[in-house]
Symmetry: C2
Subunit: 100 residues, 2 copies
């Protein structure tokens, strides 16, 4: 059974003002998602294309779907989604890539 | 002047049938974009998230905006956009990332 690496990305915009303390705090909290087991090549990024309305991104890699599932189900991820993502993110799009 | 690296990505769907000869031919042509000077870490990818309608992706990195501009303006890129991208791509979204 092939277990292709997966690059999980999510582009997003925040409800907070640009450069605000709330924005900095959210990004700092998001950075800690990179500590969840199985997460590789983690990065909090700035979205710079004028061709969409997103302003930030998260990018990470997983060795296989099991590692991705483990991240999704990890209590730290579940808590982040409930306590920070849902109330503070105004728009987002998940895009996941693997080898063709 | 800071010159941050840029990760340029575009998620897309094709007008062609899944697994068709036309699809394979488009992806092979897209692969040659990676030969344009200044393009680094080039990959043609499969989009695997069920949360969007895109099916493929291109991802590449540029050392700075000048390298990105050089790619955009390169005759091989311009020809690809006109001859292949516009007629064969049914939907797409460009997402570009740099360091926060």
């Amino acid at each position: 059974m092939l277990a292709p690496r997966i690059r999980h990305t999510v582009a997003f915009a925040l409800a907070h003002g640009e450069g605000s303390e709330e924005e900095r705090d959210f990004l700092a909290a998001a950075t800690r998602l990179g500590e969840i087991p199985g997460v590789e090549a983690f990065a909090v990024l700035r979205e710079v294309s004028p061709k969409n309305g997103f302003r930030f991104g998260l990018s990470m890699e997983f060795a296989d779907q099991a590692a991705y599932d483990g991240y999704n189900e990890h209590p730290a991820h579940v808590a982040f989604v409930q306590q920070r993502w849902l109330p503070e993110v105004s728009d987002f799009l998940e895009v996941d890539y693997t080898a063709v």
